[in-house]
Symmetry: C2
């Protein structure tokens, strides 16, 4: 019924899911945003500290945080004048790691 050269048993995502996939990848596809994500691995970070750590203007960071927030890659918590951002969940770090694994394997071949 179905041999190796056949992918009928694969569930092809719906068009909506394809678009959501592409949109999610797009948010990861900028080095500034990736640096920002790494800045808050394992720790909450306020905007000012992120700016310092990734060496970007406060405004540029804030714009990118908005993008990351809308894509639900990060969450935030307000405390006084400050806003603390952190990764949305463990998936985010996992996604980064899976792609790193791919890149590192490509290098050895």
């Amino acid at each position: 019924m179905c041999n190796d050269k056949c992918n009928n048993n694969i569930v092809i995502p719906t068009d909506d899911m394809i678009i959501e996939l592409a949109d999610t990848f797009k948010v990861f596809s900028d080095s500034s945003r990736i640096k920002i994500l790494y800045s808050m691995i394992n720790q909450e970070m306020c905007v000012r500290h992120i700016s310092q750590k990734v060496n970007m203007s406060q405004s540029a960071v804030s714009h990118q945080l908005k993008t990351l927030k809308q894509a639900r890659l990060i969450k935030y918590r307000k405390e006084g004048k400050e806003v603390y951002y952190s990764l949305d969940d463990e998936h985010i770090e996992k996604i980064l790691n899976v792609v790193i694994d791919h890149i590192k394997e490509e290098r050895n071949e």
Copy 2:
């Protein structure tokens, strides 16, 4: 030495790796390319069949295959007039699945 609010034990990727990460994500960040990738899960596909399956012009597909090839997301094999493309390795499907997992979890919250 190092508590919960500290990420000193995390290896922050080098700037080069950050750029490679972003570039790799960028190649995934287009729905046409994602459709093309799905078209060849578990099977080699020639360009003409990909065009038909994803409903894109031959030229558009060929341009995108070049992008996917340069990023080493796919590999190819020539046979007569035809060129057969397939996913570079198992990482590619894994990367897609990890992001799908994230999207699906977000939906439930």
